[in-house]
Amino acid sequence: MTARTGRDGTTTWLFLLGAVLIAVLASLATFISIRAEQTFQDIVDERAMRRHAADLLSVLQDVEIGQRGFLITLDPSYLEPYEDALARVPVELEALAEDIPRVAGELDGELRALVGRRLEIAAETVAAARAGNAEAGRAIVAAGEGRATMDRIRAILSGMIEASDARNAAAIAAQHRLNVILQILSVAGGLAAIGVIGAAVLVLRRQIAALRRADEDMRRLNASLEERVQQRTIDLIAANQEVQRFAYIVTHDLRAPLVNIMGFTSELEAALKPLQAYVLADGAPVSESDIRDARTAAAEDLPEALEFIRSSTRKMDGLINAILKISRDGRRELRPVPVDLEDLIRQSLDSVQHQIAETGGEASMSVRAPGIVSDRLALEQALGNLFDNAVKYAKPGRPLRLSVRVTSEGPRMIAIEVEDNGRGIRAEDHDRVFDLFRRSGAQDKPGEGIGLAHVRTLMRNIGGEITLRSVEGQGATFTLHVPTDLRRVLDEVKA
């Protein structure tokens, strides 16, 4: 849940970053285009001023040409362009005056004065020539004031044009720089956008992959859950069948002594009758057969019945104690502790070492599995029982070879194999030997049929199992299947 929120955050941030980038680019582009328009307008204005300046100069030159032509030739036809140009001078000057504030401040007062002066000089010369004094007019020209004024005007206008050109160039350069910046920004923005989109795509793909994985996990979990439910159901059925078998055995075995107790109680009753007939005769004549029956009852029937009642009661007590022992094992609180199997097996073997040596046999062990966490007492009792059985059911005349092997059985289980070369167990009895009070083979050794049932209870308590392989007459191999970690088993049972 937290991881998903984190990824959602990343996506949000990426989209936000993209939006900011696009906004920045858009505003920059707008700014630059506004600037470009302004620059364009500036250029247009500069051009107009430049043209007006040039036009003014040209008109003034036209005035000068007309004036001079007339002075030289006194041909009035020269006065036509002179008059035309003269009329246009104020127009051009005003046009220029209108332009200048837009681009370069106030029109220079000097220019206006110079233009006025130049026109005055021209008018003087022309007036002189008209009056027939062409020489005077020429003398004014020769004095050079007109030319000097004209040069000054030319210089000012050229300066204006140059300044305008310079401003134009600067504006164009600035515009070019802005364009370059815009281009760089566009490329960078494009790259950034590609980066953001790419990152967003990557994040989305990752999210989709994560979702798909989660989906698969869920499906797998469901499947394994079903499997576990099925396994638990099988276990439950097995446990139920075992309880039924246990109940069957217990009722049968408890009933057997009960049949004796009831039966011999009735026998007691039956034996009492001839005794009463004899003892309670009160002087009445008693027949020979009555006496014989009374004697038999007192000497045989009564003691026999009492003996059977007593032994059956004792047997019943023994059975109840055995059942209690098994039930107590089931209720004992398990203590998971690290168990060094090599150490544990060696200790258990030590207690039967002497008996094995007596038959000329030997015990061996190999531990090829890591240490486990389990209930030490349960394992100790289980191994002790198996070793005792191996010694007890060794084949007479054959030295006992007892070997214990510990191997890994998958990641969660180990197997402790206890193999002997004793008399073995018939195939039909491979299940039965683990039942309470059941024994197999010749009953030439004392025992009540509790040991293996006890071992099986111990194993099941710690989440394990006991299995058996045996060929009658050749030996038996009991395998304890033990979980490597009892804590996990207990947790699962709780869950």
């Binding site: 057997a256 009960l258 049949v259 004796n260 009831m262 039966g263 026998e267 032994s311 024994r439 010749a442």
Partner: protein, 145 residues
């Protein structure tokens, strides 16, 4: 009790000494005086019925009646019943199952395997005596071919 003029021997396979004694007493009380050969272990009983090699060879001409307890220390009575009823030499021998449980599936299993009579050992002594007396009646009607 005779079959074709020959005495029938009763083979009693019963591990509980008290039960064996009660059965014997009641059989006698019912007026049956045939020889009773008792066995505590299934293995020994099979040795007697099927011969030491358990083949049943040469054992077919004996007249035995088997009283069989189902819960024996060394093997189940079911195993013994199966071995008797699947052996062509001895499968004709009548087998009476005498046990403490009245589990229906077990009773059916015994009849399926060829048991002739199934008697539950009741805890009430009167019914136990009755059961044994019925067994006496059974003795008087069996036909051994």
């Amino acid at each position: 009790m005779k079959a074709l003029g020959r005495e029938v021997t009763i083979v009693m396979v019963e591990d509980d000494e008290g039960h064996a004694r009660l059965i014997e007493k009641n059989i006698r009380r019912a007026g049956v005086h045939n020889e009773i050969v008792p066995f505590v272990y299934g293995g020994a009983a099979l040795d007697y019925i099927l011969g030491p090699d358990h083949t049943g060879d040469g054992m077919s001409d004996r007249y035995l009646l088997v009283l069989l307890d189902l819960n024996l220390p060394d093997m189940t009575g079911i195993d013994i019943l199966e071995k008797i009823k699947t052996n062509p030499n001895v499968k004709h021998l009548p087998v009476v199952i005498l046990t403490t449980t009245d589990d229906e599936r077990e009773i059916k299993r015994c009849y399926d395997l060829g048991a002739n009579v199934y008697i539950t050992k009741p805890v009430e002594y009167e019914s136990f005596a009755n059961a044994i007396r019925q067994l006496g009646l059974f003795f008087s009607v069996i036909q051994v071919p």
